[in-house]
Subunit: 325 residues, 2 copies
Amino acid sequence: MTRVLRGGIDLGGTKIQAVVIDDEHNVRGQARRRTPTQGGPRAVAEEIAGATREAALAAGVGSSELIGVGVGSPGEIDDVAGTVSEAGNLPAWQGTYELGPVVAELVGTQVRLENDVRVATDAEARLGAGRPYHSLLGVFWGTGIGGALILEGRPWLGQDAAGEIGHTVVQHAGGRQCPCGRRGCLEAYAGRGAMEARARKLHRGGQKTKLFKLMKKRGRDRLTSGVWARALGKNDKLAIELIDDAVDALGAGIASAVNLLDVEAVIIGGGLGVRLGRRYARRIETAMRPHLFAKDHRPAVHVAALGDLGGAIGAALLVSAQEAQ
Amino acid sequence: MTRVLRGGIDLGGTKIQAVVIDDEHNVRGQARRRTPTQGGPRAVAEEIAGATREAALAAGVGSSELIGVGVGSPGEIDDVAGTVSEAGNLPAWQGTYELGPVVAELVGTQVRLENDVRVATDAEARLGAGRPYHSLLGVFWGTGIGGALILEGRPWLGQDAAGEIGHTVVQHAGGRQCPCGRRGCLEAYAGRGAMEARARKLHRGGQKTKLFKLMKKRGRDRLTSGVWARALGKNDKLAIELIDDAVDALGAGIASAVNLLDVEAVIIGGGLGVRLGRRYARRIETAMRPHLFAKDHRPAVHVAALGDLGGAIGAALLVSAQEAQ
């Protein structure tokens, strides 16, 4: 009997995380690379292939020996055509690109695509913090605010666009500008992208902050989750203020979703969610409380248990052994 | 073969609507009474029984010949115990009252209880404007803002408290006080109760309005949907201003729910929703538009097709012929 190994890729705005997992969902190899900011979709496809080969090598195989590779990607996914469109959070991604076929060619095995937030939520529901629950809301606190729903044990996709909790209107009058172009969305207050834009603006306006010094010290050109965590640890006033705003908005937006759906649990993932961890999940839970309608029960609130690797593991689960035969 | 007739009651904050329907859901009799504001739950139970007898008489039978009576009620329902609790929108309703057994005794047939918004949504999904859709959100714009969900053709109840779209947070910072005690809820802007409280306050503060003259002229002590409709018809500035606020908030709150769930349709019912009708449903749809995330499809927005009787018809559907045997 040969081992059945699957590859999984979590394609994010700042990093590409690759894993190779076995039949029992053990991680047998992993690799991480920066998401290219130049060279467009082709450069991203090549970096995905490189990370996949590296993770496969760590698992002791060539990438073509994987039964397939799943890719969780932002943007609009067409798994049949293998294309990714509207991936606004990926640098230099314009129009529609046949990511699936190009990566398949480079790694020498089949490729499956799905929305990044959905695969990460599915992984948490099947293998992570969501295992005890039949209904849950996954909230991915990163560059943007992603969301996905599991209802009665299965993903709820609506007409294929469900889960956009980041565009819950938390301030319908006089709301902040959201990177999506709308106003008052949750993401306008809590998305790392919107928070960075606001931090830059306030800093230019004269507000003191260590955020950008910490960013440079770490050799970054963006405020990563690590930079935010470090600034909070140093009691940086602006970082505390912006994270407080984000927690308040997350509390309101998630509570609204719970009032509507009455799910059993909320799983907080994403770069910032995982990095800031349990203490901030508790703070979000506290911020939800004044807005929750049902008095006799509250949803459980957990940090994503698969942490940073959840998205890549969930992507690997897209590949079924049957299809590979 | 004898006719199988069911009774249905829509118990509201201002009125009790009774219907008697046959096997084909034709309305064979109906009656309407004011919800008693004095005498507590017992007086409400007696008025329900009186309305049921009157509707049965119109259908040519005694109330005990009905195979059962369904009651759609606000508050927390325990259908097994037959109790209604926490019915804040019912005048003088305190604690838990055994509405089911008391009404059953008075009308001489079995009584079933369910949440008023759920039965009305179920009726619209099965017999009304929701028939073409597998997934929909019912929004009931009345004294409060009620909501209920149909997902994959079946009611989604969550852990039994789902649907509270009225307590979606549409203004998380500096939001208006909601009758529920929280701040910034949709209901604080769009519930008829909250709108009346605001109108009274602004009127006392010197703002001119025809609302209260129209109320007295109609012999009412509350701003009913009819009073609001009349005031809008007369271009009353304060009425227009408050209804505009309500439409904006409904647009934001409903769009947030659609962004999360991507349902096929939204059905607008309730006293104000039905009274203001298609023109205002179109206005709500327009107010939703700037907040909707999916670009390639929008939900259909309809006024509840069963109108004022939907709640009572839905309540009658609670009674199944099998149980009566």
